[in-house]
């Protein structure tokens, strides 16, 4: 069967993009006021440990943020900095903050994409199986596993996986993204990264796997009782095809939106996973910024991560009507 295809009306796209821009503006304003809450001198708070040593840096920050200006001017300056992607300079890293964040982003995206795929694939398999064996042993086992994954702190799962798979079994490295000795490119290089990726990606996936399993199970139970499933059976097609083609397609559509809303969760979780596994992404960068009390870097990461979530949700909003023919566009 061919994939459904549809053209999106410009009005719809325009409206969604405008909404996204307004959301980003709102997030920037929240961050600005968060900064205002910091006790003591704003410049010193912004600079954290890096600033106390360097008077020139403090003066620089005051000027850049317009800290001696009235509040609304400070807000305007703050918004301009974000809009122009001019987030300042990090002394510790010797780079502008935007380059710093952008250079760490790919590692986080790789980790996030891998764990989303793992969570979706296993969650769908589990959910469909549980629904097809409703109230029988496989269903109960899967539901129990899902509940356990849902209730376990992810960073602890990460540590336990390091203990079992790295320390005891020696199957995977304890952290990092690549071995110093490994070749830079080629199949060997890719394999090296994959070896490092496996444990953190699984760790990140468990919690969402639990959510997706429950959603798919509930969706499948609902869809499997619908009339068109009986009609499909009356055509003589196999149970396998009824489940994975007719029912699943309808049961997983809402999942697309859920994954979109989980992107923020994955980014937040990355702070923990990347810290546990020394994975060089923005989560680890945020942890380091916390340690050095580098508020400027910290808030920059927060704003840019939120912007990323907004863009991801915008993408989901635009993709959803294309894959779900029954959505009426407003």
């Amino acid at each position: 069967m061919s994939a459904p295809r549809r053209n999106l009306p410009f009005r719809f796209i325009g409206k969604r993009i405008l909404q996204a821009v307004l959301t980003i503006l709102g997030i920037a304003i929240i961050n600005f006021f968060l900064l205002q809450l910091a006790p003591g001198d704003a410049a010193e708070a912004l600079a954290g440990e890096a600033g106390t040593a360097d008077a020139g840096y403090l003066a620089n920050l005051r000027r850049e943020f317009g800290l001696d200006r009235p509040l609304w001017e400070q807000l305007a300056t703050f918004l301009m900095r974000i809009a122009t992607f001019n987030l300042g300079y990090s002394f510790r890293y010797g780079e502008t903050i935007s380059t710093l964040i952008l250079s760490r982003l790919p590692a986080t995206l790789l980790l996030m994409a891998t764990s989303i795929v793992i969570a979706l694939v296993i969650g769908i398999l589990f959910g469909v199986t549980a629904a097809r064996y409703f109230n029988r042993l496989p269903d109960r086992l899967i539901s129990l596993v899902a509940l356990l994954f849902y209730a376990t702190p992810p960073f602890w799962i990460g540590l336990m996986m390091i203990l079992v798979f790295s320390v005891w079994l020696g199957w995977a490295p304890t952290g990092g993204m690549r071995d110093i000795t490994a070749p830079d490119g080629g199949i060997a290089g890719v394999f090296d990264i994959a070896r490092h990726l496996a444990l953190p990606a699984l760790t990140q996936a468990f919690f969402y796997l639990a959510i997706y399993t429950r959603l798919v199970r509930a969706g499948m139970l609902e869809v499997l009782s619908l009339d068109y499933i009986r009609v499909a059976r009356a055509k003589g097609i196999s149970e396998q095809r009824v489940a994975y083609r007719h029912a699943l397609r309808n049961a997983v559509l809402p999942l697309v939106t859920v994954v979109g809303t989980n992107i923020g969760g994955f980014l937040g979780g990355a702070v923990l996973t990347e810290t546990v596994f020394s994975w060089p992404g923005i989560g680890r960068l945020m942890f380091d910024a916390m340690l050095q009390r580098d508020l400027n870097l910290l808030l920059s990461i927060l704003v840019l991560s939120s912007v990323f979530v907004v863009i991801a949700n915008l993408a989901v909003d635009l993709i959803y009507p294309v894959i779900n023919p029954t959505v009426e566009l407003r």
């Binding site: 009339d227 009356a234 097609i237 023919p325």
Partner: protein, 324 residues
């Protein structure tokens, strides 16, 4: 005379693991090639379960506990899902009551109809699609070449039912089971769909098992009629005989409740409903199950469920010979 196309003998269905909950209590029906048999009765008397049992599609939690179903001279392996897949859609097509919910919302019409063809025949996608267009033309859908690309939510109820009929007929089955195919549609569309089924039957020579509680449709369509009540057949006759001389008090009640166009003269009593409702499976009366609602009931009716003799299952039936 040759063997019937489909014969159901003493079909019993119950709730799994509960011998008390007898939903079908020995239903027997038969249909010849090209014939139309109507099965009538109020809601809940087992019409749908009978047809689902034939398709091997009984709902979870129900099981066939007895009886033999023969189709085209061989036993129908209704409990063997893999074997039944070769029958469903290919030898027996089925049309359900709810056209609005009968099509999968995420697949195009063309894909859904073509799926039956692909399942049962080795044809190319292009050939299948060409056949889908022919089928949609046959069921009189406008612009079939456009409709194959549409999604179900863009079609009206009547149009969707035509698609379901096209799907059921795609592999030229010998038997079409139509379970209340027009109940959910409004009156003018009902008439169109019934005419369509009638015409298709003339063209293709298929047999139709028509399930309905609309006796008006029965009069137009059916060769023979079986009346069901509370899980069993209580009367069977040719359509003409049934309308002319109904024997079972239940049948007479049904007929009295049916408007017959052109038959109602001034002064004729208005339509009468049968008093009461079909009892729930847990509250079935002893003896004849129609007894609490029957005006003719006597002592013997409470003692024994009447056997099916000479086309009727009733202790108090008026013999056809005596009807003027």
């Amino acid at each position: 005379m040759s063997a019937p196309l489909l014969s159901i003998a003493d079909l019993k269905v119950r709730i799994r693991g509960n011998p008390q909950a007898r939903l079908l209590r020995g239903v027997s029906l038969s249909i010849d090639r090209g014939e139309t048999l109507a099965v009538v009765g109020e809601s809940g008397c087992g019409k749908s379960l009978t047809s689902l049992a034939v398709m091997g599609l009984l709902p979870d939690g129900l099981e066939k506990s007895g009886g033999v179903i023969r189709f085209d001279g061989a036993d129908l392996p209704v409990t063997d899902n893999e074997a039944m897949r070769k029958v469903r859609g290919r030898r027996i097509g089925m049309v359900f009551q709810e056209p609005m919910a009968a099509l999968n919302p995420v697949f195009s019409i063309g894909d859904q109809v073509a799926e039956v063809i692909h399942e049962h025949e080795a044809v190319s996608h292009a050939a299948a699609m060409a056949r889908v267009v022919d089928l949609l033309t046959q069921v009189q859908l406008p612009e079939p070449a456009r409709i194959i690309h549409e999604y179900p939510h863009r079609l009206s109820g009547g149009q969707r039912q035509r698609v379901v009929i096209a799907m059921a007929l795609a592999c030229r089955p010998d038997l079409l089971i139509a379970d209340e195919p027009t109940t959910a549609l409004d009156v003018t569309v009902q008439a169109q769909i019934m005419r369509l089924l009638h015409d298709l039957q003339d063209d293709m020579g298929i047999a139709i098992l028509l399930i309905t509680h609309n006796l008006g449709l029965v009069a137009q369509m059916a060769d023979r009629v079986a009346v069901m009540y509370a899980g069993r057949k209580v009367e069977e006759a040719t359509t003409r005989m049934l309308f002319a001389a109904p024997q079972h008090p239940y049948t007479r009640g049904l007929l009295a409740a049916t408007p017959r166009p052109g038959r109602r003269r001034p002064g004729e009593p208005p339509l009468t409903e049968i008093p009461g409702v079909v009892p729930a499976i847990t509250e079935m009366p002893s003896g004849c199950r129609f007894r609490p609602r029957c005006m003719l009931a006597s002592d013997i009716c409470a003692l024994e469920d009447p056997p099916f003799v000479d086309g009727v299952a009733c202790h108090r039936a008026v013999s056809r010979e005596l009807v003027p």
